[in-house]
């Protein structure tokens, strides 16, 4: 199960944090810092995308300036969560209308996911949460079809 999801930039600014296990505010601040210090200095080329973290592990993936980290149980399938992060990022890209360009670039791991996108996350942070809630729920993967998620989001937009 996912314990929390963090999206942080290289400076450690948190762009998204979702907690599926209750932590108090102090702990959240501490965890944000710890995860950033753990993940940011890692070598992208020569190190795996998994870090042991207390009794759990962090599975992370970097898209240009942003680190997408999920903290999962020690016996969870790391490779599958890595794929789940990618799914989330792809849907983010598509729903921000950068779809064609971005997904093309995302095919490459070191894809261009620069400030434009970070800014998108900043200005549309509530929308990012909405997307997240369509993909992950209660710390588990909820939906794996991009189309289902995107059409649902569209419907919700119309209701606004």
């Amino acid at each position: 199960m996912i314990r929390f999801i963090l999206v942080q930039n290289r400076q450690g600014k948190t762009r998204l944090s979702k907690w599926y296990v209750p932590y108090d505010d102090e702990e959240k601040v501490r965890l944000r810092g710890e995860v950033h210090r753990l993940v940011a200095p890692r070598d992208q080329k020569h190190q795996s995308n998994f870090v042991e973290f207390k009794n759990h592990k962090i599975v992370y993936r970097r898209y240009a300036g942003l680190f997408f980290c999920v903290c999962v149980d020690a016996n969870d399938n790391e490779l599958a969560y890595l794929e789940a992060i990618h799914l989330f990022v792809e849907i983010l890209g598509k729903s921000f209308m950068l779809s064609a360009y971005l997904t093309y670039l995302l095919a490459d791991t070191d894809a261009f996911f620069d400030n434009v996108c970070e800014l998108d996350l900043v200005f549309n942070f509530y929308k990012v949460y909405a997307i997240l809630d369509e993909i992950f729920l209660a710390g588990e993967i909820e939906e794996t079809s991009k189309d289902v998620v995107l059409s649902r989001l569209e419907e919700l937009e119309k209701l606004e």
Binding site: K45, F50, E83, F125, A130, V148
Partner: protein, 844 residues
């Protein structure tokens, strides 16, 4: 200024030049929002919450908005509800009081006619529900599981998951619904349903039986996923819904564990997934990885198991670090079960020792230790030695330990064993644990045929490098001990032995004394070594004179230990013949009684234990020299823990030892084995301890030391064997209750220790219903007589007699469990006791 909407606020904050500016702006804005909340303007509320949530995300306090979020949720407008629930999810968690207020809104919204509103309610519930809320809304969730809307069913299934995580009792509630969900055709619903069922099976064994029937269904589902061609909706790099496949595999694993028929049913599909999944991309590997885990956990047939391990072997040569990482991790878990299958991938595992990723290197190293056996010890140790040369420092201590242990266990011959340890000393002499060093020295002492060889090797090695501490220590000791052998045999380097003069040897030893790498310990060793060397007839008068000068110099050394040694050694020089007797070659430590005993019991030398004390990770750099009360409690704790199959609990702190023991100085075991050089620490403190020993044979031994110290030390003239005298040791002293143990032995029957336990209460209250239990390690036997009186009155002493039969030479260790009622309070306690002196059970 107040920003009119979220976007303006974000821009405003981004425009701030400094962090301080930003903070001021946020404070002002927060104050403005707070003020606006007070006006109860329902139109401004939406805007305010949106801004507040952004402020919250930046890390500023926003909890004053919680109630406003509740108000938003109560609004009939969908937009308001949506933002309100987002706010609740961000600002609240299950631990907060306000959450009870949310329950009602959720209940209303779950029964709403608009499915979008129901969806919002379910989403919020799934993310933050508390135990109480789960109980309150379980019925709603159950009802929604039967909804005709796939979107609702999917979310409700995950809500049910949350409910049973918070309240496992409610699991039964959902079983029938979960079963019907497993037949759902919608991927999203199926995914959620499988997740739910997996959780049910994990928490409740009865569920496992309930859902075993579903195995054929799951197998069919998986088959459909694997065999259908391209399905655009769920395709990830050419694989159909890998997430669902992984979940199905995981559930199959739970259902197949320990159930042969279920395992049989899934054998085929597992083989099919394993062969047909494309492993070139991460997606495929994630499925293969899950398949491997499942195969290894269920009762799969052996062909399938081998196939699984071969998949992991193939993973090891994958270019992707992640895949190599999971492969090594998994191999580490299965290596003990399927050693032979893993052996086949030995070479590639060894290649991973040179991986660019340190965590991969670490795991490969752990795995290589596990693979060593008598057949491949030469090859693997050679590889490990080659790796030791370039290994990260943090691995070295673990490596030297593991290599030495492997050599000790599987060495084809002594020469190879000595060469191997020599090489580790040369390569990583600063990362060697004491036990390893002393084991090496024992080995040398016991191999007279190779002493000349070893001494000359060490001589050459020390010549080349004096910076490696353990190498220096070993070399100095061996050269000091066997200087005459070295002088006779010469230095074997290449084919022709070259002669080394006594001057050369002394020069070398003195260079170790003055080297910048020398420390307290090496200097002590050198002083001993040169003294010994000077006492040999092979050493010329000139060099003896030199030795005397050096010793004289050290008689004024500010370091007390060195000064004392120097003074004592110097005075030995005046004693003529006695000197030669005292300094003659040490008899080899008794291998049978000490080494074997030590190997199996006292030290982490038996490599079966390697993993337990952290060696494998290489993280326990120094052996934890026990500092508690001046005796080796640590090892005995480990031992007891191992024997009784539990980790040392907090209650098992060592009992205060007898006073005679606690006054003894700390000494490392290296020093002990070199007892010959050891200036007697403090004769005053030795005497009482020696006095407590009952068997004459062990009167020479240093009581607090490890077993290998039981070497008659010629240094100390034999003392008169002391008549058996009874000393009592405090085993338990808590809550004003004191238990002392008095051991008694007889020379005629070594290994039998009669122990009299005495119980006293120190306070004014009587301890009633006293129950005293003891346990000993498996190698020992225990007999107990009943206690004289289970109620201990103040001022009286109750007794209980026990008898321990232990193999001669071993230490008596007890785990004591006491329970009693003191002043109306029941007390249960457990302590480990190992405070008896060594040699109580006699020596062989």
């Amino acid at each position: 200024m107040v920003y009119h909407n979220l976007k303006a606020l974000i821009k405003g904050i981004r425009a701030c030049k400094t962090v301080a500016d930003e903070r001021i702006l946020i404070q002002q804005e927060s104050a403005a929002i707070r003020a606006s909340f007070r006006e109860e303007d329902s139109y401004a509320r939406h805007n305010n919450i949106a801004k507040l949530l952004y402020i919250h995300m930046l890390g500023s306090p926003a909890h004053f908005g919680q109630i406003e979020c509740l108000k938003l949720v109560a609004s009939p407008r969908f937009t308001d509800k949506r933002l309100g629930y987002l706010g609740i999810m961000l600002l609240l968690d299950e631990n907060q009081e306000v959450l009870t207020l949310v329950t009602n809104s959720l209940k209303n919204d779950m029964n709403h006619s608009n499915t979008y509103v129901v969806g919002l309610g379910l989403c919020t519930f799934a993310n933050i529900a508390s135990e109480e809320m789960s109980r309150d809304l379980a019925n709603e969730i159950e009802k929604l599981l039967g909804s005709s809307n796939t979107y609702i069913r999917k979310k409700a299934a995950l809500c049910a998951l949350r409910v049973i995580k918070k309240v496992p009792d409610l699991t039964d509630h959902f079983i029938s619904k979960a079963k019907s969900l497993l037949t759902d055709r919608n991927h999203g619903v199926l995914l959620a349903a499988i997740t739910l069922v997996t959780e049910m099976c994990q928490t409740d064994d009865t569920c496992l039986n309930e859902f075993r029937n579903a195995v054929p269904l799951l197998v069919r589902n998986l088959k459909a996923l694997v065999t259908t061609g391209y399905s655009p909706e769920h395709d990830v790099s050419g694989i159909t819904d890998p997430f669902l496949q992984v979940k199905v595999l995981r559930l199959l694993r739970l259902l197949g564990q320990g159930d042969a028929p279920a395992s049989e049913t899934m054998n085929d599909i597992l083989a099919q997934v394993a062969t047909n999944t494309d492993s070139t991309k991460n997606v495929g590997s994630s499925i293969l990885y899950e398949t491997v885990l499942t195969v290894l956990d269920i009762d799969a047939d052996s062909g399938l198991r081998v196939m699984a391990i071969n998949i992991l072997g193939k993973f090891l040569s994958n270019r992707d670090n992640n895949i190599r990482y999971v492969a090594l991790n998994t191999l580490n878990k299965v290596v003990s079960m399927d050693t032979n299958a893993v052996q086949r991938h030995r070479n590639i595992i060894l290649d991973c020792l040179r991986d660019g990723d340190i965590s991969i290197r670490r795991r490969a190293l752990e795995l290589s230790y596990a693979l060593i056996n008598e057949h491949n010890v030469r090859v693997l140790v050679r590889e490990l030695l080659a790796f030791l040369e370039v290994a990260d420092d943090e691995f070295k201590t673990g490596m030297t330990t593991q290599i030495s242990l492997a050599a000790e266990r599987f060495a084809p011959n002594k020469r190879w064993h000595i060469d191997t340890v020599l090489r580790t000393l040369k390569l990583a002499g600063n990362f060697v644990r004491e036990e390893i060093l002393s084991a090496f020295i024992r080995l040398v002492a016991h191999t007279p045929e190779l002493q000349a060889y070893t001494a000359s090797k060490l001589y050459t090695a020390l010549h080349a490098d004096i910076s490696q501490e353990s190498l220096t220590l070993a070399a100095v000791w061996v050269i000091g001990e066997y200087s005459e052998v070295l002088l006779e045999g010469g230095i074997i380097d290449g084919d022709q032995p070259t002669h080394a003069s006594d001057k050369d040897i002394l020069d070398l030893l003195l260079s170790a004394l003055d080297s910048p790498y020398a420390n307290h310990l090496t200097r002590q060793f050198v002083l001993g070594a040169i003294t010994k060397m000077a006492s040999r007839h092979t050493t010329s008068v000139l060099q003896q004179e030199r030795t005397r000068e050096v010793l004289a110099m050290y008689t004024t050394n500010p370091e007390l230990e060195l000064q004392q040694r120097a003074v004592e050694y110097a005075s030995l020089f005046t004693l003529g013949d006695l000197k030669v007797g005292v300094l003659e070659r040490m008899p080899p430590p008794e291998l049978k009684a000490t080494v074997m005993g030590v190997v199996s019991e006292n030290k982490p030398v038996g490599s079966t234990r390697g993993g337990k004390d952290g060696d494998l990770l290489g993280d326990e750099v120094t052996s934890p020299t026990p500092q508690v009360n001046g005796q080796s409690v640590q090892n005995s704790h480990d031992l007891l823990a191992e024997i009784f199959g539990s980790t040392p609990s907090s209650t098992s702190t060592s009992p205060p030892p007898a006073s005679s023991l606690s006054t003894q100085p700390q000494k490392s075991s290296v020093q002990d084995i070199l007892g010959l050089f050891d200036s007697s620490p403090d004769p005053a403190s030795m005497t009482p301890a020696l006095g407590s020993l009952s068997t004459p044979a062990s009167a020479f031994s240093l009581p607090q030391t490890q077993a290998q110290a039981q070497v008659p030390s010629p240094r100390r003239p034999p003392q008169q064997s002391t008549a058996p005298r009874l000393t009592s040791y405090t085993a338990y002293d808590k809550n004003m209750v004191k238990i002392t143990l008095t051991p008694q032995t007889s020379v005629a029957r070594p290994g039998v220790v009669n122990i009299l336990a005495r119980f006293q209460v120190l306070g004014s209250d009587a301890a009633s219903g006293f129950n005293f239990q003891a346990a000993v390690p498996k190698s020992q036997q225990l007999q107990m007589l009943p206690m004289s009186n289970p109620d201990v009155q103040p001022g009286t002493t109750e007794t209980q007699q026990m008898r321990v039969i232990a193999p001669p030479g071993s230490n008596v260790r007890l785990r004591l469990r006491v329970s009693y009622t003191l002043a109306g309070q029941a007390v249960h306690d457990q302590v480990d006791f190992s405070g008896f002196p060594q040699g109580l059970t006699g020596t062989t």
